[in-house]
């Protein structure tokens, strides 16, 4: 008989009992993965069971592979082996056969049996078995060498080392520590079981080093401690290699890289200066910083193809000098593995919209579609001078593909070649933790996802389950995940069970009720990674303060005492109790007093609380306070320019008005309500003719600097000429209106521009362009809602329908949205409504459609149909 086979026979006789233990473990593993024991459940400690069973199987497999007959171990394996008439290569080959026939083959057969029992296609069975063979064979160098390196009881020490470094996550701790200190970004963010290909590749790369270690030991005979240390080091190196950017995950391969490259070359990326936003933040070292985000646009993209942008390098210059940038957040990485995370904030309904005027709209994607965070920078000293931005961008492209649909009922199933889903339970008005939650729907679903290499359903992006209401064409895409559990991650088709909670489903305006819940749909959408492209963009004159960026000033301290009392009376009392200077005090002392008044005003800001919106909880005004402060402004008019218009504009205007009244400036009087300037002057150039001026001081389109300058002049001269000059300057030029409009579209400005034919065309094109880039959602920022309104004002009934749907789904009492909704009504219909009428407006929008109105092209308004 062939000597190798003979030696294998001898090994097998010794290893038989251990092999039976291994086979038993395999059977238990199969039973576990088939759920014959310990069914999937969402209670208790989940997912750990799968990892423990897998780890246990690998440990037993290693134990079996490392075990050698006692006669081969004498004197460290030297004595008997040297004198036996068995060539070394035959001995090594027999060890290889032990690994192949006693461990690899049964594990491979287990995969085949599992896939067969799961009724998978024969091609999947074959592929699964081949992949298992590939994975197990990666350990061949390791186990064959280790069996000769460690003899007798030493194998248990080797197993302990293997368990500590690999199974107990100690290796990951060390690798993370080293990576952090060497500033290496880990390419691997999950568990080994979710990205096995990395570890298999790394095992192949480092396996030969084990052979070298064995050869070295055979020449120089290392003590067991040295051998174990070297073994541990090789394991750590394997771990580190798997986590490093040097190893690629084959499941990250793009599907259409060439087409994406062509698309990237054909369409330029546009980043508008006004889309940049700089928001304050704090990093984990508690350093203040600015987060830089912007919207990157590419025209003509299909709705179901989405780019996700990151910046490889951002350079920001101000006055020619480069501003210091900070490294990106550690939790934010790029790459296709982030697709699921990005999709959380972007509407998925592009995958479902087949055409037609009425789009399916996402209920719970984030507002500001297309905005991405790009980089972080230190806060510069100069926040007023614009900057130039130079970015090297990477776009990860994904296509949204519908896997299938099913009714929203228990027992519903969705089946596709790569993924299967079954709804086990539908819980109405129940939250993620089982608590009562009106309007929410919690599903218990079972998923089977293919994890074979040719079509991996979990990597880089998992399928996303959404709820679809065909009646109102709404999509709920983001769910809160509760308990979950999985099995058989290693075996080619993973089984999962999870709880998913969708919020705001049965809310007013959605058309979904408990009664018709079963007729809604489940839609399963799979993002496919298409490819990656790189772009270079330069943008000039970007404001650091525009578009909701950081704002200077602002107070946020309220009173720490007397919180239960009337804040209006307490404010007045605090001002009176303060250190009031003498009437002829110098300007600095007066400034200190005025500052203390502002501090007290911020402390008692509750006095401005409105509930419901439009109705003061604490009726009254700040006139008495203003009258106390005004004399100091009369004495030192320059103090006006130090007043706070950012967060205390109402008080500032009250003080200015009081000062002007006390100064006797014509046109300013003490009257109830908002301070108003009212003056009728005769026009010398037209005898008998008069010009009437009426305005409040709060001229939002003029700017505080010009207003305060005018007030200072008026206080000094006791004349109202500066006020009239200010009012006269309010009519904006078309050019300025156009500049403001493109940054901040609004209905009123649109109508103003459309009076001029040239600007009408430009404005229309700009509105259409911005409208085309909006995400298909009902949750908008104020700016996005204005864009939709502006498009509707151009006569687009689809835009009107979209606006009505979005408004109808607003929360009825929400003071933060109130202003935008009031403005929407005025823009669309040309009529103002009050806060009290807002709730009814929202309810009406749930019933109204575009057909309820007709378009008045002359006035650029929508008018109710005659029968409404």
């Amino acid at each position: 008989m062939n000597l190798t086979l003979h030696q294998f026979n001898k090994e097998f006789r010794y290893l038989r009992p251990r092999w039976l233990v291994f086979l038993a473990a395999l059977l238990v593993d199969l039973a576990f993965n088939m759920e014959w024991i310990l069914a999937l459940n969402t209670e208790g400690v989940t997912m750990i069971a799968d990892m423990l069973f897998s780890a246990g199987l690998w440990i037993i497999g290693w134990w079996l592979a490392l075990s050698t007959a006692p006669e081969d171990e004498a004197e460290g394996g030297a004595a008997f082996v040297r004198t036996r008439p068995l060539p070394r290569h035959a001995f090594v080959a027999s060890r290889g056969l032990v690994w192949l026939l006693l461990i690899m083959l049964p594990m491979t057969l287990e995969v085949g049996l599992y896939l067969t029992l799961q009724h998978r296609p024969w091609s999947d069975v074959g592929l699964g078995m081949a992949e298992e063979l590939w994975a197990t064979s990666s350990m061949a160098f390791w186990v064959i060498s280790a069996a000769l390196l460690f003899r007798g009881w030493e194998i248990y020490l080797a197993l302990v080392v293997f368990l500590a470094v690999w199974g107990a996550n100690y290796g990951r701790t060390v690798v993370d520590f080293v990576f952090e200190h060497l500033s290496i970004e880990s390419s691997w963010r999950t568990l080994p079981v979710l990205e096995p290909a990395r570890f298999i590749q790394a095992a192949w790369w480092i396996g030969p080093a084990m052979v070298l270690l064995l050869l070295w030991h055979q020449r120089h005979h290392w003590h067991v401690v040295k051998r174990l240390s070297a073994f541990a080091l090789l394991l750590l190196i394997t771990y580190g290699l798997a986590a490093s950017p040097l190893v690629k995950n084959p499941f990250d391969e793009p599907l259409e890289q060439a087409q994406i490259q062509q698309l990237a070359q054909a369409q330029p990326v546009v980043m508008r200066a006004d889309s940049f936003r700089f928001t304050e933040g704090v990093d984990d070292q508690l350093r203040s910083l600015l987060n830089v985000s912007a919207v990157a646009e590419m025209d003509g993209l299909p709705r179901d193809v989405m780019p996700f942008w990151t910046s490889n390098k951002t350079v920001i210059r101000q006055n020619g000098h480069e501003l210091p940038m900070l490294p990106p957040e550690r939790t934010r990485t790029s790459g296709p593995g982030m697709i699921n995370l990005w999709l959380f904030e972007h509407s998925l309904s592009g995958a479902l919209n087949a055409g037609g005027p009425e789009k399916i709209l996402a209920m719970n994607s984030a507002p500001e579609h297309g905005r991405f965070p790009f980089s972080r920078m230190q806060i510069p000293q100069d926040l007023k001078t614009p900057v130039d931005v130079d970015m090297h961008l990477t776009a990860v492209w994904a296509r949204l593909r519908e896997l299938g649909r099913a009714p929203l009922q228990a027992g519903a199933r969705i089946h596709s070649p790569e993924a299967e889903l079954e709804v086990l339970e539908v819980r109405k008005n129940v939250g993620a933790r089982g608590e009562p939650a009106p309007g929410q729907v919690t599903l218990l679903v079972r998923q089977s996802l293919r994890t074979l290499s040719d079509r991996h359903a979990m990597w880089p992006a998992q399928p996303l389950l959404s709820l679809h209401a065909p009646g109102k064409k709404l999509l709920w895409q983001n769910s809160m995940q509760g308990g979950n559990d999985w099995r058989a991650m290693r075996l080619g088709w993973v089984q999962m069970i999870m709880e998913m909670t969708f919020g705001e489903v049965m809310n007013a305006g959605t058309g979904v009720t408990e009664q018709n819940l079963g007729s809604q749909q489940l839609v399963w959408i799979k993002p496919d990674y298409l490819g990656t492209s790189r772009h270079h963009v330069q943008v000039r004159d970007v404001s650091l303060q525009g578009n909701g960026s950081i704002s200077l000033g602002g107070l946020h301290s309220v009173t720490a005492l007397h919180q239960r009392e009337n804040p209006r009376t307490r404010f007045l009392a605090a001002v009176r109790q303060g250190r009031v200077p003498l009437a002829d005090a110098p300007i600095e002392e007066a400034a200190r007093y005025v500052a203390s008044v502002y501090t007290a005003s911020a402390a008692y800001e509750q006095r401005r609380q409105q509930d419901p919106p439009g109705q003061l909880v604490w009726p009254g005004d700040d006139r008495e306070v203003a009258d106390l402060v005004a004399p100091f402004l009369l004495k030192h008019p320059e103090l006006v320019q130090r007043l706070n218009f950012v967060t205390e504009s109402a008080l500032s205007y009250e003080i200015m008005n009081s000062a002007l009244v006390q100064a006797g400036v014509p046109g300013f009087e003490r009257r109830p309500g908002q301070p108003i300037y009212r003056r009728t002057v005769s026009l010398p150039e037209w005898p008998g003719a008069t010009q009437k001026f009426e305005s409040d001081l709060w001229l939002t389109d003029v700017g505080n600097e010009r207003i305060t300058s005018a007030v200072v002049q008026m206080l000094k001269t006791r004349s109202d000429d500066p006020m009239r000059a200010l009012l006269a300057s309010r009519v904006p030029s078309l050019g300025k209106a156009w500049r403001d409009f493109s940054a901040r579209p609004a209905g009123k400005a649109l109508r103003y521009l459309c009076k001029d034919p040239a600007y009408r065309e430009k404005a229309g094109a700009e509105v259409s362009r911005q409208y085309g880039g909006l995400g298909l959602t009902v949750r908008f920022s104020d700016r996005e809602l204005r864009i939709i309104i502006a498009q509707a004002l151009m006569g687009d009934s689809a835009a009107l329908s979209w606006a009505l749907r979005a408004i109808g789904l607003s929360r009825e009492v929400n003071p933060w949205e109130a202003h935008a909704l009031l403005e929407s009504h005025e823009s669309l219909f040309g009529q103002k409504i009050t806060h009290r009428q807002l709730a009814q407006f929202i309810r009406d929008c749930r019933v109204w459609t575009a057909e309820s109105f007709r378009y008045d092209a002359e006035k650029m308004l929508w008018v109710p149909q005659a029968n409404q």
């Binding site: 007798g152 009106p438 005492l561 009337n566 502002y598 501090t599 911020a602």
Partner: protein
């Protein structure tokens, strides 16, 4: 039985080197201490490098324990130190294992008892004591007294001694390297199980903890005795019997300690310092704390504050009081739709700030941060909520339970000093410590703030009683530690109350005989934005002119006050007459 005293005489030693002669003379003399010292030196010679590595690792672990987040460094030092200690123990025991015929422990002239004693001393001074010492620095600054430090030492020493003696006794029974390995694994499994079990003992179960402490001592004693029986008396059976009996008793003891001495139990604290009473109606002329606009608590001494634990009707049936889901408590919030009750991380209210006002100039403007609901539910709201579950609540007598605390100023330094260096503040009661340092001088948001990065640590040894009285448990659980940061700027006439991060405590870190949890305790203080914008006041000048105080509430006890149904109706009527508070 072989005598412990060496039988050979100097005349029996022929042809030895000078070193050996000196050794023989030392051995042959009847000087047990000299023999002991010799053996200890021998142990040191055998394992000195490993011991030095062990000390290095323990030093690293001690340094890691002082870091804010020990994390990776602790993992990289303490775990290897643990395994290395077991290895040192194992090697030492194996070198003279009584059952192992490959070693000559029975015939060595130094004597078996001396060898055993030397090993015990060697392990004590090279492994056990350094391990105890490395654990001590992390407990500085917790206001521990002698009793608490004793608890720290015992809490560290007992588990380590259990592990060491068990390892030693098990390995001493091994007759070969194979048995050593197998018994070593067995020791590891047993020890791991024991450690996990001890670490997961609930620190609420005092009797079990006391039992566990006694069990640990018993286990050490029985393991040492077993080892001694085997090493000195060479009686394997007796040794095993002693070990098994001791081990079984020790394992059962924590669960059977119900009848035993519970030295951890401390009495509950009832407030009796001053007579307190309720005043119904508008604020009394003599002053008092406002609980509700029409209900005041009168009689509190200065700096004392009452926090409402519950205001609820008393049921005539023997139902537990207070009932679940009270919305009147300062310590919890209840979702009135779902009924779910959750603990409020911040239970200190404006009343606590008011108590401090006397320590600062009158007329100062007090500034703080917005809170969600400073007023809380009105009495009418409390009654309305109670009627949902107790329809006859208006006809029943009510009870008001309050927790009294006294505000202590535990820290007062110029702000400039607090900014320049890290600070540590101990709470008035042992076991709690606040470490903070400047996080950022100028957080730009909301007009500018100073951010202090803080960490509130709680650590206590579970083998000794925690304080002289039981901590107040409103509604059955311990409230989160709160403190108040106050910044006084006399030049501006302003006093600022800091806003603290509402970060829940981390879960108890499992540790044998210790309870420990921590949470972030960052706090911010707003800049005087208005003054800086209008008067040119600089941040540096403001910092130089301000003082930072930290105030900590010290528990003084609880008190129940009974309210009749008529009094309750009177309070409700009075609340109606007073200006209704809108929300």
């Amino acid at each position: 039985m072989i005598s412990d005293t060496p039988a050979m005489t100097a005349g029996g030693m022929h042809g030895l080197s000078s070193v050996r002669e000196r050794t023989a003379r030392a051995l042959l003399g009847e000087r047990p201490l000299a023999r002991l010292w010799h053996q200890i030196r021998h142990e040191w010679q055998f394992q000195r490098w490993l011991v030095l590595v062990e000390w290095l690792l323990l030093g690293g672990a001690a340094l890691a324990s002082l870091e804010e987040k020990p994390g990776t460094l602790a993992d990289l030092t303490l775990t290897p130190a643990f395994f290395l200690a077991l290895l040192i123990t194992g090697r030492s025991v194996r070198a003279d294992a009584p059952c192992n015929t490959d070693v000559m422990s029975h015939t060595r002239p130094v004597g078996r008892a001396t060898v055993w004693g030397a090993k015990v001393l060697f392990f004590t001074f090279t492994l056990l004591l350094p391990f105890v010492v490395q654990a001590l620095p992390q407990f500085r600054g917790f206001s521990f007294g002698a009793v608490e430090w004793f608890g720290v030492v015992m809490g560290t020493l007992l588990p380590a001694a259990v592990l060491g003696t068990l390892t030693a006794v098990l390995l001493s029974h091994a007759r070969s390297m194979r048995e050593s390995t197998a018994l070593g694994f067995l020791a590891l499994v047993l020890i791991t199980g024991l450690v996990v079990a001890m670490a997961n003992l609930s620190d609420d179960n005092d009797k079990m903890l006391c039992g566990a402490g006694v069990a640990a001592v018993m286990l050490i004693f029985s393991a040492l005795t077993s080892w001694w029986l085997l090493s000195v008396r060479t009686s394997r059976c007796l040794s095993l019997a002693c070990l098994l009996l001791g081990g079984a008793t020790a394992c059962a003891l924590p669960f059977a300690w119900g009848w035993g001495w519970d030295w951890r139990q401390v009495p509950r604290l009832a407030y009796t310092a001053t007579p307190l009473s309720l005043h119904i109606g508008s604020a009394p002329a003599s002053g008092g704390q406002v609980l509700w606009p029409s209900l005041h608590l009168v009689g509190l001494p200065p700096d004392h504050v009452a926090s409402v634990i519950a205001l609820a009707p008393v049921s005539l049936e023997k139902a537990p009081w207070p009932p679940k889901g009270v919305i009147s408590s300062d310590y919890t919030s209840v979702n009135t739709t779902t009924g779910m009750e959750s603990q409020l991380p911040r239970w200190m209210t404006e009343n606590h700030t008011e108590a401090l006002a006397a320590h600062y100039p009158p007329g100062s403007l007090w500034l703080g941060y917005p809170v969600d609901d400073p007023r809380g539910p009105s009495l009418a709201g409390v009654l309305k909520h109670t009627l949902k579950t107790e329809p006859k609540a208006a006809e029943k007598p009510w009870r008001l339970r309050v927790a009294i605390s006294r505000m202590h100023r535990v820290f007062s330094r110029p702000l400039g000093e607090a900014i320049r260096e890290p600070m540590r503040v101990a709470s008035p009661t042992p076991g709690c410590r606040l470490d903070f340092r400047l996080g950022m001088l100028d957080v730009p948001s909301y007009g500018g703030q100073i951010l202090f990065a803080g960490r509130l640590e709680h650590r206590f040894p579970l083998l000794v009683p925690e304080g002289s009285h039981a901590r107040i448990r409103p509604l059955g659980y311990l409230p989160q530690q709160n403190f108040m940061a106050v910044l006084h700027s006399p030049a501006l006439g302003e006093v600022r109350v800091g806003q603290e991060t509402e970060d829940p405590s981390s879960p108890d870190e499992p540790a044998v005989f210790f309870s420990g949890h921590s949470r972030r305790a960052n706090f911010t203080l707003p800049h005087p934005r208005a003054q800086m914008d209008m008067t040119g006041l600089t941040l540096e000048k403001w910092v130089a002119e301000s003082t930072l105080d930290l105030w900590w509430p010290e528990e003084k006890g609880t008190l129940d006050l009974e309210i009749t149904a008529e009094q309750m109706a009177e309070a409700l009527a009075a609340e109606n007459k007073l200006r209704p508070i809108s929300r």
